[in-house]
């Protein structure tokens, strides 16, 4: 069941008549990530889910920046643009704004989107261009061989921080909500079913969808998300966010706290009606923001799912509307009329 208020994100993208399979979306290029990289799982999840959208393959575009994850477009048999570090949201903004008939996907990592490209990310989110941004968060720089990233935990020992990193990390969900993104979700590479369900909603959302995907880098930051994958503890740690459902894990629940915030408590200790029911469509993002803080500081309980999904006009549809309005008011432009507008005089 869709959690979307607004499912017109693909309304202008032409549909395919032919039945598609995963194979249709695999390019002929050899995939060159390290064996065991979480990116493989995400690629397979995307390739196997996009046929369901039933779009014309030629109307899908994957745009990326720089980093391990940014090789992604080469492996999709669609149009693709592997651009430069941090700039994919800007490039995708120009593309999506001028081509509403395309389904545009941005593939980025934590360094690409939150360090060098942080500015473009927040502005894409506030503008609400019709894009899907998949942020592969492995909390490390992989392609440059293992420096700490803007999502690395404080004290991270890496090649560039032998005595531990000093700077506080970004929480991508909090950042996106702070920028008032209209669709914000988190999922994980190892849970294909959940990943695909989130991607489906993201694709159909009109406006910018930001999906943080926890992704394991088995070379430079192996096991970063092990608690969430370990069958012993994952069900206790993971707080499932489902619209209209109580926010709980196997053993914990979220409720309003006495100080006006929210808190995680032992599920057995609270009455069912005390448990906070998730409302992804709340216009005010502050409660979603509070949820995004529950994993601080150390992954004791991690909300997974769609934090926020609200209806807000997208930048590209509003720009198209202004163009249509201009034509409706004064008719289509005529070059001769334009050049001769204003004060002119004739000689001879």
């Amino acid at each position: 069941m869709s959690e979307l208020l607004n499912g017109r994100g693909l309304s202008l993208v032409p549909k395919s008549d032919a039945k598609q399979t995963m194979k249709d979306y695999k390019s002929d290029q050899e995939v060159r990530w390290c064996p065991g990289c979480g990116d493989y799982a995400i690629l397979a999840a995307v390739q196997s889910f996009v046929p369901e959208l039933g779009l014309k393959r030629e109307n899908m575009v994957f745009v990326s920046g720089i980093g391990c994850s940014s090789r992604f477009p080469y492996y999709m048999n669609t149009y693709g643009f592997h651009s430069i570090h941090g700039r994919a949201p800007a490039i995708a903004t120009g593309l999506a704004t001028s081509r509403p008939d395309l389904s545009v996907w941005v593939i980025t990592g934590d360094g690409d989107s939150l360090s060098i490209g942080g500015n473009h990310l927040i502005h894409a989110l506030r503008r609400n261009v019709n894009l899907n941004i998949l942020l592969f968060n492995n909390r490390i720089y992989g392609l440059t061989k293992g420096q700490y990233s803007p999502t690395s935990e404080v004290g991270k020992i890496t090649k560039s921080t032998p005595m531990g990193s000093l700077d506080k990390p970004f929480n991508p969900i909090s950042l996106a909500l702070g920028a008032e993104a209209s669709f914000v979700a988190r999922t994980i590479d190892s849970d294909r079913k959940h990943l695909q369900s989130v991607l489906r909603e993201a694709a159909e959302h009109n406006g910018t969808s930001l999906v943080e995907i926890y992704q394991n880098c088995n070379i430079f930051n192996d096991g970063a998300f092990d608690q969430l994958k370990d069958p012993e503890q994952r069900d206790d740690i993971t707080l499932r966010l489902e619209h209209g459902q109580p926010i709980v894990s196997a053993s914990k629940a979220v409720r309003r706290s006495a100080d006006g915030g929210i808190e995680v408590v032992d599920r057995a200790s609270v009455r069912e009606e005390e448990i906070l029911v998730h409302d992804a469509h709340r216009a005010d993002p502050s409660l979603a923001f509070a949820l995004s803080r529950l994993d601080e500081p150390a992954f004791e309980h991690v909300p997974i799912g769609i934090f926020r999904s609200v209806d807000r006009p997208s930048y590209d549809e509003q720009m198209a509307a202004q163009l249509e309005e201009a034509v409706a008011q004064r008719g289509p432009g005529s070059l001769d009329d334009l050049l001769l507008a204003g004060d002119t005089w004739r000689i001879g």
Binding site: E58, P73, N77, T93, G94, E325, G333, W345
Partner: protein, 615 residues
């Protein structure tokens, strides 16, 4: 009293005042009247970057110079015949440019002790005899304006603010300018404030009448209309012409225009202008920064739009990496650099030609691209169409160079009809080009351009990117020989454009000049005016001006080598000279001044004469 009317062939007026005095508006209106009257003209606004510098100070002085004539002219003029000084600061800042004998119309009301002290005058120069060599007309502009507006229901402050219209009225009388257009302009501008509109019109009329009746002006002047080629004319600034050129390029290429831009002086007016023309299907995107501006433009180009970004030097520096991406992905892109004084922030409102080497080489790797420069305000139109033609035909980013002088300066423009403009459309790829397969980097054998296959085209799905691509397939390649080949192919594609641009034309009426003056960009006017002076006095000099700086016209070397001496004035320290010396081993004589201002014709005439004399 019947006043004497004197005929003049040309006049240079400079309006100068505080940046809040409305000098740019006054100049614009005088220009409109002059254009309507049919004189040829050229303008030079000069204003501080500060929006409102402290009132009455030297840094706060804003001026507008207008040169108009009964014949075709090329520059805003070297030295004013008339200075309108609205306050002591305006007098002090501009007196150095004023030849002895010129007229000074000074607003005596502002020559107070305090205002004089602000700019370091110990005594009032209007009274101490220090201006004896100029013809000074002291006019209490402010109090005359306030008096003329006594009966209006407006504040004293609003009445005082209308003094620029009084000055405009006086000057309009002095030079027999038509008044109707200014009156209707004021009615439109203040349509929502009819009292202010009436007051400004009254001030304008009062200024005119003051000229007619006062004894301090015994002579008025007539400058007959100029004989220009027949056609419909309008006055146009460089930024407006450039914006119109981009719109024309969009129409003539049948591609929707997408502008990604970040506000920056002196380029912002192009963004403002284009944002008004949405009914041409133009999308203007004010980005979060310079990088996003060019990134969005490139993304739009990938999608089949005419992607454009507009900026000045500091912005070009920020865009460099994305321009390199456009070079290697071989997508059309127009990068407009309205050059200003640098380095760094430099002097944002002042002009320079110092970005040529950045335009040529300011990227990592071997990343050649065409560079096109406009040579006059109205020529920005043609230069923009040409930049777009090259960008779409060769699938390459193009640097289009304007500068602050062209951007804000204006001149009459013989308006072309759309039918006269070239068709610059190119087809998108629609079919596989290698049997069943599509090779995104298989080149046109003639132009070496790759196919432009836009998303939405079935069967041509492909991936491009900044990593080196295999020749033909476009797949990632680290093969050494492939890289060498691709580097050379990209260079050969740009070099090959030399076959597709006009030869460098030389203006050498008698064909026996031994000295060539070469230029590029906005120096055209001053150089051509200087060349006329030399020829008028019997000297022989040839002139040539480069529109295409990369690649250069195919005959450039031949032209340079056919003269004994080549003089190259540039508003930089010799950037084009460096390129030409390296390429053609010609001993170019450089003349360089980097003052943030255009050259003066007299200055260049002297330099040319010196070179001729040294023969």
């Amino acid at each position: 009293m019947t006043k004497q009317v004197q005929q003049l062939d040309r006049v240079i007026i400079r309006f100068a005042g505080d940046s809040g005095d409305g000098m740019q508006l006054t100049g614009d209106r005088f220009t409109a009247g002059t254009a309507e009257f049919g004189n040829d003209l050229s303008t030079l606004p000069n204003f501080p970057a500060e929006i409102r510098a402290p009132a009455g100070t030297l840094p706060g002085v804003s001026s507008f110079q207008l040169h108009f004539a009964d014949h075709d002219i090329l520059t805003p003029g070297d030295a004013p015949n008339v200075l309108v000084a609205m306050n002591p600061a305006a007098l002090k800042a501009n007196l150095g440019d004023l030849p002895r004998g010129a007229d000074v119309i000074a607003n005596t009301d502002e020559f107070t002790k305090r205002n004089l002290q602000k700019v370091g005058y110990d005594a009032n120069p209007l009274e101490d005899g220090s201006l004896a060599e100029w013809r000074v007309h002291p006019v209490p502009l402010t109090s005359l304006t306030v008096k003329a507006l006594e009966d209006f229901d407006i504040s004293k402050k609003d009445a005082e603010r209308a003094k620029n219209m009084f000055a405009l009225g006086l000057l309009s009388w002095l030079y027999h300018r038509p008044t109707e257009a200014t009156i209707s302009f004021l009615e439109t501008k203040f349509a929502k404030k009819p009292d202010i509109a009436k007051a400004n019109i009254a001030a304008f009329t009062a200024g005119w009448n003051y000229g007619e009746t006062t004894e301090s002006f015994s002579v008025s002047y007539e400058v007959k209309p100029a004989q220009l080629p027949p056609g419909v004319y309008r006055n146009i600034s460089g930024n407006q012409a450039l914006a119109y050129g981009l719109i024309a390029a969009s129409v003539q290429s049948k591609l929707p225009l997408f502008l990604g831009s970040y506000p920056i002086t002196p380029a912002s007016d192009i963004l403002h202008e284009l944002s008004k023309h949405k009914r041409f299907g133009i999308r203007t995107f004010q980005a979060e920064d310079e990088i996003a501006g060019v990134g969005a433009a490139l993304g739009a180009s990938f999608g089949g739009a005419l992607g454009v970004t507009t900026t000045s030097g500091p912005g070009v520096a920020l865009k460099a990496e994305t321009v390199g991406l456009a070079v290697t992905t071989e997508l059309p892109l127009i990068v407009v650099d309205v050059q200003r004084a640098g380095p760094s922030t430099g002097m944002p409102t002042k002009t320079e030609q110092t970005d040529l080497l950045m335009a040529m080489y300011g990227r990592n790797g071997e990343s050649p691209l065409p560079v096109v420069a406009a040579m006059s305000p109205s020529d920005c139109f043609d230069a923009a169409v040409e930049a777009a033609r090259l960008a779409v035909k060769y699938r390459t980013p193009v640097m289009l160079l304007s500068d602050g002088y062209l951007a804000n300066g204006s001149e009459p423009w013989k308006v072309p009809s759309a039918a006269e403009l070239p068709d610059i459309s190119v087809p998108f790829a629609t079919e596989p080009n290698d049997g069943e397969a599509f090779l995104p980097f298989k080149r046109d054998p003639e132009t070496l351009a790759r196919p432009w296959a836009v998303p939405g085209t079935a069967g041509l799905e492909h991936r491009i990117g900044g990593i080196e691509k295999a020749d033909g397939t476009g797949n990632i390649s680290y093969d050494p020989d492939n890289h060498d080949r691709m580097v050379r192919l990209r260079q050969a594609k740009i070099d090959g454009i030399a076959k597709d641009i006009p030869a460098l034309e030389v203006d050498d009426p008698d064909g026996d000049a031994r000295v060539l003056v070469l230029g590029w960009g906005s120096t055209y006017g001053p150089i051509a005016a200087a060349v006329r002076r030399i020829r008028k006095s019997g000297g022989k000099v040839a002139q040539a001006h480069l529109r295409h700086l990369n690649p250069l016209p195919a005959n450039t070397g031949e032209v340079l080598k056919s003269y004994d001496k080549v003089l190259l004035p540039e508003i930089n320290l010799g950037q084009l000279a460096l390129l030409l010396r390296a390429r053609f081993l010609v001993d170019i004589i450089s003349y360089n001044r980097v003052r943030g201002l255009p050259f003066k014709a007299e200055e260049l005439a002297g330099v040319i004469q010196d070179v001729i004399d040294s023969e």
